[in-house]
């Protein structure tokens, strides 16, 4: 296609001068801008919306050593900000945005991420979410390693960071939209001097639905210089957008300096450049043969998941569906505009941030508007599509759009909709109970209407769906609508967070990968399905436990440094599979070395591959203790709902009877002949639940935790996090 094509989108810029003129500065803070030195600016910014006070904090060597940056800084600041009794909507709850030391380099793919940490409304424990777009790097190049937002304003305000001028303001901004695709465009245009300057502005915003639900996401934007439109990327998980709106924040605007290739002032630019060029070349040589990320992004795996019976279909009842072909890459390659460098930060040659251009909306307040939709990514296609029995790509795209602009996490929303649709299928919900919404499988319009209700703060959408599956299952049971046991079994959540979109029934390691996580069942800690189920590379409990030690620790490191996980293993060196054993190949050793080079090259601190794990483990164990401090973090909260572990219903069993019967023979040495489906299901349940508990034992041991999942004092000491407060948090549990 013509990469300079002019796209026609609905614009929201009428009266923009008037909007800007209506701003009233409520508080102002002047500071001296500075660039990072070897990846760190060594200070952070703190904004208190209750007192309207803006101040700076210093970052010392000890903090960098223990917490590295990104998610580590976020957790440390959150720990300091809140008490064990704090609730998510208390003013002291803190939203911390932290980019990490490597973040902002332009030479290596995937280096523009920020980590957002807060006390989650949906889990009441810390949540961390990894988000692209330009805000994190621009924050750092404006002079700060992190930004904290605490307190609560009494009316809607915006926070503006002018990183060249050295000025931070809290402003009343009454006229701009709350919804993100509009807010991002309006604020970008207001604060950029001209077209060329727009890429130096990034806006964080949530949306209307984030206000009326617990699953609000936070959108970060960037200006796409080719399409001439603002794009959105999400800190999706755990309700961060809900906290943002609860603080009466309409937007956070960061206007930084024009980006150059050495703004981190790295210790060794050449080392960073060499790693970057090497990976760009791999992408050039192999992406078309490997994951086709540049063409279809993460949706490349829809068909793979479907083929291996791993695609969530109808609330994770099934793993494949004949109509999945309508929402797989063969569709997305046509829907996504091809040939535009679609990186969510400069230098991402993996370029998975695709979009559907000039999409005409059919429902809601923007009906008839032509917009760019950022995505869908795999999680959205699977969650809001197949998991709801929706295979019409139009509804998947429209759902994606409204989730983003309203500030809703598409993963939670997909898992929630799957759950309520199954409740409809089983008679737990009906038209009367939903207030008229017909939540039948495949009803894309009903799904959208449920979301519009969330945005308006009314009806079933706001009262039930927006509260998440954890609260819904209790409400439904309390209303006498359904059996508690069944509701517990089919609600895909752990610690209160909705599970992301992979079927884990046939992979024990992935059950652990989901439910033995710090924040709840999100696949960013470990994705072991292929190693475990398809390739059988980690057969014993100890092997699985080792994988559930190594991978969560390794992957935590991306979040400490402001990196994207995808360029680690969604592209591989050409000889990765031949030069390494399969178990080693899964780690992509050459890319791990690249990360060593990046960290050492930026910070000047020489590290090894082993230190990557050590850096992560300090933060990982700290986060586990933090969960404990907030009242979770023990074995009972590492439970998996049975739908994630095995077949809950007769239909599920019988749909894969051959597989399950064979497992009875092979695993349990039981002859299935003559047994009823119910008897066979009961045998499976006992076996599978026991197997999960054995895995939990093995993983706890490997992670240095007690049988109840508590990090021992020795584990804290080994990790250098045996600070008095941390020890005090675990001590009562160690008796």
């Amino acid at each position: 296609m013509d990469v300079n094509k002019v796209f026609e989108y609905t614009r929201y810029l009428d009266g923009i001068e008037k909007m800007k003129a209506a701003h009233v500065v409520l508080a102002e803070y002047a500071y001296t801008p500075s660039l990072p030195e070897k990846g760190y600016t060594n200070r952070t910014l703190h904004v208190d919306l209750s007192t309207m006070k803006i101040s700076e904090k210093k970052v010392d060597e000890a903090m960098k050593k223990t917490f590295t940056g990104g998610r580590g800084f976020g957790l440390k600041y959150l720990w300091d900000a809140i008490k064990p009794t704090t609730k998510w909507n208390d003013p002291e709850n803190d939203i911390i945005i932290s980019p990490g030391p490597i973040c902002g380099i332009t030479q290596y793919p995937g280096a523009g991420k920020s980590l957002v940490v807060t006390l989650s409304p949906i889990t009441n424990i810390p949540i961390d979410s990894n988000v692209g777009a330009y805000l994190g790097p621009l924050l750092k190049f404006s002079g700060f390693d992190a930004l904290e937002i605490q307190g609560k304003a009494t009316e809607d305000v915006i926070v503006v960071l002018e990183g060249v001028k050295g000025r931070v303001t809290i402003e009343r901004a009454p006229l701009e939209s709350v919804n993100s695709h509009v807010a991002a465009e309006q604020f970008t245009h207001e604060y950029a001097a001209d077209e060329a300057d727009r890429r130096n502005v990034s806006v964080a915003s949530a949306g209307q639905a984030a206000e009326h639900s617990l699953i609000g996401c936070l959108n970060f934007c960037y200006y796409d210089v080719r399409r001439k439109v603002t794009r959105l990327k999400q800190a999706g998980r755990g309700g961060i957008g809900t906290v943002f709106r609860d603080k009466h924040l309409k937007a956070l605007v960061v206007h930084g300096p024009q980006v150059k290739g050495d703004m981190n002032r790295p210790a060794d630019l050449g080392r960073v450049q060499r790693a970057g060029v090497k990976l760009h070349r791999e992408m050039h040589d192999f992406d078309d043969k490997m994951c086709t990320m540049r063409k279809v992004g993460t949706t490349n795996i829809v068909s793979v998941m479907n083929a291996y019976d791993l695609l969530p279909v109808m609330n994770f009842q099934y793993g494949s569906h004949p109509d999945a072909k309508h929402i797989d890459k063969t569709t997305w390659i046509r829907k996504f505009t091809q040939g535009i460098p679609d990186g969510c930060w400069y230098g991402c040659s993996m370029a998975c941030a695709h979009g559907v251009d000039e999409f005409a909306l059919r429902t809601g307040p923007y009906q008839g508007h032509k917009v760019i939709v950022d995505g869908p990514e795999y999680e959205t296609a699977a969650g809001c599509g197949s998991n709801c029995g929706i295979f019409d790509p139009h509804w998947v795209i429209e759902c994606n759009f409204y989730c983003d602009t309203y500030g809703i996490d598409t993963i939670s929303f997909g898992t929630i909709t799957g759950f309520v649709m199954e409740c409809w299928q089983r008679g737990i919900l009906d038209k009367e109970r939903t207030g008229g919404l017909e939540l039948t499988w495949g009803n894309g319009e009903a799904q959208l209407e449920m979301m519009h209700q969330m945005a308006r703060g009314e009806g079933f959408g706001a009262q039930y769906a927006g509260q998440g599956v954890h609260r819904m299952k209790t409400m439904f049971a309390d209303n006498g609508w359904g059996d508690r046991q069944l509701l517990d079994d089919i609600a895909l959540e752990g610690k209160g967070l909705e599970q992301s979109e992979y079927m884990s029934k046939e992979s024990l390691a992935q059950q652990g990968g989901y439910y033995l996580t710090n924040k709840g069942p999100q696949h960013d800690e470990a994705w072991l399905i292929f190693m475990d189920m398809v390739n059988n590379q980690i057969p014993t409990f100890e092997d699985k436990a080792e994988a559930l030690y190594y991978f969560p620790m390794f992957r935590t490191w991306f979040g400490l440094n402001g990196l994207c996980k995808l360029p680690w293993n969604d592209i591989e060196p050409g000889d990765n599979r031949t030069a390494n054993t399969p178990q080693e190949a899964a780690k992509v050793p050459e890319h791990v070395q690249n990360y060593v080079d990046l960290f050492s090259g930026v910070t000047g601190r020489e590290i090894t591959k082993e230190e990557i794990i050590a850096m992560s483990e300090r933060v990982y164990q700290f986060q586990r203790v933090f969960d404990l401090r907030m009242g979770k973090g023990t074995r009972q909260y590492d439970k998996a709902p049975y739908r994630a572990v095995g077949p809950v219903t007769r239909e599920e069993y019988e749909s894969r009877q051959e597989r399950y019967d064979k497992q009875l023979t092979d695993w349990m040495k039981v002859d299935p002949a003559g047994k009823s489906t119910e008897e066979k299901m009961a045998l499976h349940r006992a076996y599978r639940e026991d197997r999960y508990q054995k895995l939990v034992d093995a993983v706890y041991k490997r992670r240095g935790w007690t049988e109840n999942g508590i990090p021992t004092l020795e584990t804290l000491r080994r990790n250098g996090i045996d600070f008095p407060e941390v020890v005090a948090a675990v001590k009562p549990h160690l008796k």
Binding site: Q107, V225, L269, R271, V277, M283, S349
Partner: protein, 127 residues
């Protein structure tokens, strides 16, 4: 379109081109800062330099690469973010980097190398 035409058969490995190029485009005597490179392979010299194909133009995230009136692909350092994607995606590996330099650099078909070459292995031509 203007470009630098090479005739490797005439090359004797004098490498005057590398010096002239480095001096012209990077004000340096370091041949590692030259956009044109001469390498010896089995006694035969190979000349690697940009052929102005323009594949890099569409790769650039910030539109820092474009053709000038003569058709030569030019890099605008003011816009460039130094991401080096153009380096990795150059079909002939003729976009260059150097650790001293934030932005990559390439042949601008200025002809300084052709003037320096004693063997007439290089010339500015049209295609």
């Amino acid at each position: 379109m203007k470009y630098l035409k090479t005739t490797p058969a005439k090359c004797k490995g004098v490498r005057a081109c590398e010096k002239a190029c480095a001096r012209t485009i990077n004000k340096s005597d370091d041949p590692a800062k030259s956009a044109i490179r001469v390498t010896a392979k089995d006694g035969v010299f190979e000349i690697n330099v940009c052929n102005q194909c323009g594949a890099c133009i569409d790769i650039c995230p910030v539109k820092a690469l474009s053709r000038n009136k003569q058709g030569v692909v030019m890099l605008d350092r003011k816009l460039c973010v130094g991401c080096l994607m153009c380096v990795g995606y150059c079909p002939t590996l003729s976009m260059r980097t150097h650790p001293d330099l934030r932005e990559p650099f390439k042949c601008i078909a200025c002809g300084a190398c052709a003037r320096a070459c004693p063997e007439q292995a290089l010339e500015i031509a049209e295609k």
